[in-house]
Amino acid sequence: MNLLLAEHIEKQYAHHKALDDVSIAVQKQSVFGLLGPNGAGKTTLIRIINQITAPDKGELFFNGEKLQAKHVSQIGYLPEERGLYKKMKVGEQALYLAQLKGMKKSEAREKLKIWFKRFDIYSWWDKKVEELSKGMAQKIQFITTVLHQPQLLILDEPFSGFDPINTNLLKEEILKLRNEGATIIFSTHNMESVEAICDHIALINQSKKILDGNVKEIRNSFKKNIFEITFKGNLIAFTNALWTGYELLNTKSDGDYTIAQVKTLSSNNPNELLKSVLPEVEVHGLQEILPSMNEIFISKIKEQNNLQHG
């Protein structure tokens, strides 16, 4: 079941086309990664989902219904460029933003207390935002985004500005929210975090969607049949064993062990590979190397850009 469905979205600005026939489907209770280089059109798409701007063409559905004004209270949005009123007190401000999302003041206050205690920032309630560090302000911003328990959370580069400890805390919170039933659209350049938390992705480049699907399936479909073998023994004997049907990409030694990356040329069967090398060396580990999202990202975008310019 899809929580959000965007079909054939187009958006034209005065000087350029921001989105060209982009469709995405976001499954309920999943983390959906919206990837792409700067200026690809991610923010425009997010703004359209948030009903900040309207698309020129295409339709959006939320929970099967046509996306409309009442859905605003079901969406929580953390923009990439974010901020708070500097002169306003933290608690007051969080209450204000919650009320704008349609929460009652008393209800918002109760929930805020719980979140503030959980993040261990309850003592900041009466501080002005300008007295806080950037990381502290980010935490408050995150709380105000999720406070009204939206069905859909849209997080644009949520980790920028966080230190590793808080990044981890946030990752855990995001996964926890998903497990509790929330659906999350997650826009980022940080490919490591994509592999760690995204279930599905869509890659947008130059206003067009160029790739989408399940993260594991995508990585599998992009695999180049490379295996990493860790062994003890003679490197020359190992090399000789891979004389036909294999390509030895590189080797490095790690104490008594040698780690080698081997690309299979004919069959992609790790058993065949093992059979070839077992008589020669003592194998300690074998692992298939899947391409990282980062590699896929770069190669796909280069491919498209070359198509356009070549």
Partner: protein, 445 residues
């Protein structure tokens, strides 16, 4: 409460709670009162009797200088040197030395003092001497001094308005002008002060980057209107507090200083009434004099103005004028990244406002001319210009046209500003030009 209400609330309370607001609100009337009271107080302080020792070596002025309540001339036949030597052992405040050379036309006269005498004393002495010398010169040329004095005339022009139904009321043009002008200045300042606050507020939200979070919850138009209305309420609060405080201070000053004048008017009216029965020219000289005195005229003028109607009109122009310009200021704020970039867009907004202020001054010359009419009907200038005209009396149809056009004007500018605003607030790091803004107006987002 609707979302726009929540926004209005925040805009209002975040400003009203500021220390600067509280200080300004309290200080305003105190400053105004000070402007009213301090000159009065100073004038009273000045009224110590100056005893002037006159040493007239020319012999021309013997006992010709006339003392008044506060300046007493005292002719002494002693030498100026002895006088100066003994100055501190006498109780004279000032020595006036008239040297003999004055006969030959060298009009240098000296004043010596222990403590600087007031300007009024200096002026009094100078005018006394000048008058005497003028008299002497007239006399020397065989011109009748008394005749000259009789030809000097002072006219008291009392203005009366005759309505269509023949009812006549005495008005005071000067007072009406003054009141209208004060109203106009207030509107002018209010629009500028709070219009710029709207603009700053928009820029603040934009540079803080909170705007995107907010417009994912409310429509940009709601945010803009919430801000404009919230700030308007701040202005009205401040104005109301100022009025109440100033009125209180005014009432106190009025009863203390001007109560007597009020009594006199009643007295005169009563006497006039009884005199009318006997015949118009039998009024005692004193009463005639009092009737035409300026203070009485002003007080009568004040009593003639319909303050309730005037106040209601003022509030309308105050609010509508502000809304018209407030929306434009919001649009400017949305189009720029920081306050320094506002200059180029401020010009077309401030020009009509400043123009209306300039026109307001020339309208005083001709309150019912074509210039007055057009500028008090065009929405961009009407709030200020109409205020000047109002106490002088404006035909109802003109007032109605002006108000209707102003209402239409602020709906139009708000609509236009809304279109600029919703595109502008999401634009960063780009120098915005007029042609860019025109594109925003044409492309719907």
């Amino acid at each position: 409460m609707g979302k726009i209400g929540i926004i209005i609330q925040r805009e209002y309370f975040s400003r009203v709670k500021k220390k600067s607001f509280i200080i300004m609100t309290l200080l305003g009337p105190v400053l105004m009162a000070a402007i009213m009271i301090v000159p009065l107080w100073i004038a009273m302080q000045d009224k110590t009797v100056q005893r002037i020792q006159v040493i007239d070596d020319s012999g021309l002025f013997q006992n010709l200088l006339q003392s008044d309540e506060y300046n007493q001339f005292d002719f002494t036949p002693i030498n100026i040197f002895t006088a100066k030597e003994n100055f501190y052992s006498t109780d004279y405040n000032v020595i006036l030395y008239i040297p003999p050379s004055i006969i030959k036309g060298n009009y240098n006269v000296q004043l010596f003092y222990k403590k600087q005498p007031g300007v009024s004393t200096e002026m009094f002495v100078r005018s006394q001497l000048e008058e005497r010398i003028t008299d002497m010169k007239l006399f020397a040329n065989k011109i009748d001094v008394e005749l000259i004095k009789k030809t000097k005339t002072k006219i008291n022009l009392s203005t009366n308005k005759i309505e269509e139904d023949g009812k006549s009321t005495q008005t005071s043009t000067t007072v009406n002008m003054f009141i209208g002008f004060v109203g106009a200045i207030l509107i002018y300042i209010f629009i500028f002060l709070y219009g710029v606050q709207v603009m700053r507020g928009v820029i603040e939200e934009k540079t803080n980057r909170i705007v995107e979070v907010i417009i994912s919850s409310v429509r940009p138009f709601q945010l803009m209107m919430g801000k404009i209305v919230g700030i308007a309420l701040v202005g009205l609060t401040q104005f109301l507090l100022w009025t109440i405080l100033t009125f209180t201070i005014y009432t106190i000053t009025y009863t203390v200083f001007l109560g007597k004048v009020d009594n006199k008017i009643e007295q005169i009216e009563k006497i006039k009434q009884s005199q009318l029965e006997k015949g118009p020219f039998n009024a005692p000289e004193e009463i005639k004099k009092m009737d035409s005195s300026e203070v009485i005229q002003i007080m009568r003028g004040l009593k003639q103005i319909d303050f309730v109607a005037l106040f209601l009109c003022f509030v309308f122009y105050f609010i509508a004028g502000y809304l018209l310009y407030g929306a434009l200021f919001a649009a400017i704020g949305s189009a720029v990244d920081n306050e320094a970039d506002t200059q180029q867009f401020m010009l077309p907004v401030t020009v009509p406002l400043i123009l209306s202020f300039i026109v307001a001054q020339s309208i005083m010359q001709n309150p019912e001319g074509a210039l007055s009419f057009w500028f008090s009907v065009i929405p961009f200038t009407s709030p200020v210009v109409m205020m000047v005209r109002l106490p002088l009396g404006v035909p109802i149809w003109q007032l109605a046209t002006s108000m209707l056009l102003l209402a239409a004007g602020f709906i139009a500018t708000t609509w236009l500003a809304g279109k600029i605003y919703r595109t502008g607030i999401l634009m960063y790091g780009k120098k915005i030009t007029y042609s860019e803004i025109l594109k925003w107006l044409r492309f719907n987002s």
